[in-house]
Amino acid sequence: MSSLKTYLTERRQDKDCLIMTHVVCGYPSFEDNWKELEIMQQFDVDMVELQFPFSEPSADGPLFVKANQAAIDSGVTVADCFEFMQKVTAHFSFKVIMMGYYNTVFKTGQEIFLQKLADAGAAGFILPDLPVDEAQELYQIGTQLDLAPIVLMTPTNTDERLAKLAESADGFIYTVARRGVTGSQTEMDNEVATFVGRCRQATDLPLAVGFGVSEKKDIDFIAKHADIAVIGTAALRAWEEGKEAALNAFFKKLLA
């Protein structure tokens, strides 16, 4: 069992709903990232995904696509991301998860990449374009380095498939509350509840619910049905609209 799972399980005992936020490394800049993280820390978030920018972010929605592209265009490298992650884990208390696309890992070399991740203090990694069927070797290396391989469960999965996904997973499960890419709006309704219920059947890992969380009532819903709310696009949109002030206001309202 990964130390991430332990960490989350413990935190969950004190909190109705854990929070995972998201930052695209180097977008708008590493300085901005740092300021965002400081605010997230203030609001006591439990985990942050640091996304390594990739030129083909095919599982991301428009805002993150733009962020990925802008970061690359401004010269952000994989090395920069590791360096930043190192600083972040040294300074903040939340756990850091690497998020990105498999080619970034593959191109660096699986072992080297994960070793660097571990060295930079990450607690796990999420690679949405890497299905578990292709991931076994990588997950094994991760497990040895205490890096939790975060697996996604989706409403289209059969129960058999959910069981198989659960087998490979560690840390927590990222349940995709609806079809579509990041930033799509989701009504937190019965259908989601049913789906999260199916995931709960399949695993005893903490369940994160993602895609489209933006209001207090989403948090309340997740608190009732799952463990972790994933705040992605909504936070970035707030930052773009008004930097510190807007992001602060966003979290204040969300976590009121």
Binding site: P53, F54, S55, E56, P57, S58, A59, G61, P62, V65, K66, Q69, I72, T77, V78, Y101, Y102, N103, T104, F106, K107, T108, P128, D129, L130, P131, V132, D133, E134, V151, L152, M153, T154, P155, T156, N157, T158, R161, L165, V176, R179, G180, V181, S184
Partner: protein, 420 residues
């Protein structure tokens, strides 16, 4: 050689290349597609239905033409051309698209999406969508929409919605990403009609299978009309579908050399071309659903590419071809833009045929090699498409001044009309 017999290896892998790298949410969809495809492939009635459709709608079999003038002019090997340009919509893309259309019908889906770069595949897909009565959406990089208005015009007139993708380089690869995003949202009723033999398994196999109609016909036609198999065969390689289509007909004929012709653009050097294998600027990676060679930097981010032929201007390549290249069954060569326009001119002047700029890559390489071969030898070129639909691109490639004046005059007319 059965490339698609996976009993001894991982399904969807060719050597270490291929695979299915897709978000989990598409798992069920892709499994359904694999299953449906497998059933279709094993059902002889399906291939019959496909053949029948291609005959009655697209005019197959396309002929093999003997280029007597060009052969004489070069004084080397006898040159034959497989005429995929004579297909309905003007390129081999229709083979794949109509095949997928039949599959979509079997799956009971009602909506299709497709990416397109040059517009050929979008054009073919819009055609198929109209013919099958599907709801059709075509994603196309915004740059390409601006450049390729003629194809957009036809797509729209055939009832397709064309969406300009403003992400990334705003070209083909970005349109593919956008298709994947649509697909993860609408997989219930939607099939993604991938346009080349790339992407996640089963697409490389599936597209290759539909395109194998080219090689099957061509082999028989060479035996019947040319008096024997060719010594070398040439096909341009963008994603790899027309090359796979042709090559499969000759894979087991060991004496037939298979030559893939890539976009050499301005020549070697990252960013100057779209050659994944002939030049040494690409490396193995995983993107757009598959593991294969990509033109990428050390961080695994994709490079800009360049070619005079929009249809070859792509970062990745069919994984089966990479495998065959490693096994030295397929030779890869790169052809520069300049060589391509020369070959195009020669084909028009000496034989009255207008290869698409993509296909002209095959011509260029074949011309180069045929000249050094014996008159008793034969080469076969895949003319994957016709160039007459791409007059803007070709006129630009040839720098035609009359054309520019004509456009200026047309623009003036339209302006006057509006003001008048």
């Amino acid at each position: 050689m059965n490339l698609f017999d996976f009993t001894d290896g991982r399904e969807g892998y060719y050597g270490e290349y291929g695979g299915t790298f897709l978000p989990e949410i598409l798992h069920t969809t892709i499994e359904e597609l694999k299953l449906e495809f497998r059933k279709a492939k094993e059902d002889p009635a399906f291939w019959q239905e496909f053949l029948q459709l291609m005959q009655s709608y697209s005019g197959r079999p396309t002929p093999v033409s003997y280029l007597e003038n060009l052969s004489k002019k070069l004084g080397g090997a006898q040159i034959y051309v497989k005429r995929e340009d004579l297909n309905h919509t003007g390129s081999h893309k229709i083979n794949n698209v109509m095949g997928q259309g039949l599959l979509v019908k079997r799956m009971g889906k009602t909506r299709i999406i497709a990416e397109t770069g040059a517009g050929q595949h979008g054009y073919a897909t819009a055609t198929m969508g109209a013919r099958f009565g599907f709801d059709t959406k075509i994603y196309m990089g915004a740059h390409d929409v601006a450049r390729q208005r003629p194809n957009v015009f036809w797509m729209e007139n055939m009832g397709a919605e064309v969406v300009a993708v403003t992400d990334g380089q705003q070209t083909l690869k970005d349109a593919i990403n956008e298709c994947l995003r649509d697909w993860v949202t609408n997989m219930d009723n939607t099939h993604y009609v991938l346009g080349t033999a790339c992407g996640p398994h089963p697409f490389p196999e599936m597209v290759s299978w539909f395109q194998s109609i080219i090689g099957k016909e061509a082999r028989q036609q060479m035996l019947d009309n040319a008096g024997g198999l060719p010594d070398r065969i040439f096909a341009c390689v963008g994603g790899g579908s027309n090359a796979m289509g042709l090559f499969q007909g000759f894979l087991d004929d060991e004496a037939v050399e298979l030559v893939g012709c890539e976009a050499g653009g301005l020549g070697e050097g990252k960013g100057n071309h779209a050659s994944r294998l002939a030049y040494k600027d690409a490396s193995v990676g995983v993107a757009q659903g598959m593991k294969t060679y990509f033109l990428q930097n050390d961080d695994g981010n994709m490079l800009e590419t360049h070619s005079v032929a929009a249809g070859l201007d792509y970062i990745g390549v069919n994984p089966v071809l990479v495998h065959l290249w490693e096994k030295e069954r397929v030779r890869f060569e790169a052809v520069t833009d300049d060589e391509v326009t020369e070959a195009l001119k020669m084909a028009m002047l000496t034989e009255g045929i207008i290869p698409a700029l993509e296909s002209a890559h095959g011509f260029a390489q074949a011309i180069k090699e045929a000249a050094t071969m014996k008159p008793s030898e034969r080469v076969l070129i895949n003319m994957s498409g016709r160039g007459d639909k791409d007059i803007f691109t070709i006129a630009d490639a040839l720098g035609d001044e009359h054309w520019k004046r004509f456009i200026a005059q047309k623009a003036d007319e339209y302006k006057a009309e509006k003001e008048g």
